[in-house]
C-alpha cells in the first residue's frame, strides 16, 4: 500500500538556519513525489516535484529510492517560509495523490 510519512509535526528554527523537512514513502514501484505548501490563510499549492529537479524559493528535494525518502531542504530559512508543508506520493499515471500528515515549519526572527 502507498504511504507517506512525515515524522515531524512541528519544526522550529531561527532565520538563517538550515532546514530539512523529512518525508519517507512506501511504494514498491516508481513513485512520483511532490511537496505542497500552505501559507497562512492561503490555499494549498504545489511547491516542487521531483521529476523537475527544480529549486523553488530556495527549496530543493532529492528522491532517494534506496532510503525511500524525499526530504525538503533549504540552506538558509526565511521568516516567510513559515507554513505547513505536505509531502505527496503518486503511484504513477492517473492514480490518486496521497499526502503525508504535514509538518509545520516555524521560522523565528
Amino acid at each position: 500500500a502507498q504511504r507517506v510519512t512525515q515524522p515531524e509535526k512541528l519544526l522550529s528554527v531561527f532565520k538563517g538556519a538550515p532546514v530539512e523537512l523529512k518525508c519517507n514513502y512506501s511504494y514498491s514501484g516508481s513513485p512520483e513525489l511532490f511537496w505542497y505548501v500552505q501559507y497562512s490563510r492561503q490555499r494549498l499549492q504545489l511547491l516542487l516535484r521531483h521529476i523537475s529537479r527544480e529549486s523553488i524559493k530556495g527549496f530543493t528535494a532529492d528522491l532517494n529510492k534506496g532510503e525511500t525518502s524525499f526530504h525538503l531542504k533549504k540552506p538558509f530559512a526565511q521568516e516567510e517560509d513559515s507554513a505547513m508543508y505536505y509531502c505527496a506520493l503518486r503511484a504513477g499515471g492517473y492514480n490518486k495523490l496521497i499526502f503525508g500528515a504535514g509538518t509545520r515549519l516555524a521560522v523565528h526572527p
Partner: protein, 113 residues
C-alpha cells in the same frame, strides 16, 4: 472560473443531520479530488474522480460518506447522519488528466455540534 470554488465556506450543523458540500473545479480539468484536513491527521484522501472512469472511493471513512460528479464537472460530497468526528476542513482539488499539479479550493470548514 479563476480557480476551484467550494461552497459553503463554513457549515455548522447538528449531530445527526445530513450535509452537502459543493465543489466547482477549474474548467477543463478532468480529475477531481476530495480530501479532509484535520489537526493531527494531515490531509486525508477521500475520493478521486478521473474523467468517465469509476471513481476511486477507497478513502471514504464510512458508508455515511458519498460523492458524485455530474457531467464531469461539479461534484457534491454528502455526509449523512453527521458525527462530531466529522468536523474538519473538506478540501476539493482538480487537475488535468494525469496532471502533476493539483489546484485546491479554499475548503469548507464543517463543524458538527
Amino acid at each position: 472560473g479563476a480557480g476551484v470554488s467550494q461552497s459553503p465556506s463554513n457549515k455548522v450543523t447538528e449531530k445527526g443531520k445530513d450535509v452537502e458540500l459543493r465543489c466547482d473545479p477549474i474548467s477543463g480539468h478532468t480529475a477531481l479530488y476530495w480530501y479532509r484536513q484535520s489537526l493531527g491527521q494531515g490531509l486525508e484522501f477521500l475520493i478521486y474522480f478521473q474523467g468517465n472512469s469509476a471513481p476511486d472511493k477507497s478513502g471514504l471513512p464510512s458508508d455515511r460518506f458519498s460523492a458524485e460528479r455530474t457531467g464531469g464537472s461539479v461534484s457534491t460530497l454528502t455526509i449523512q447522519r453527521t458525527q462530531q468526528e466529522d468536523s474538519a476542513v473538506y478540501l476539493c482539488a482538480s487537475s488535468l488528466a494525469g496532471g502533476e499539479k493539483l489546484f485546491f479550493g479554499s475548503g469548507t470548514q464543517l463543524s458538527v455540534l
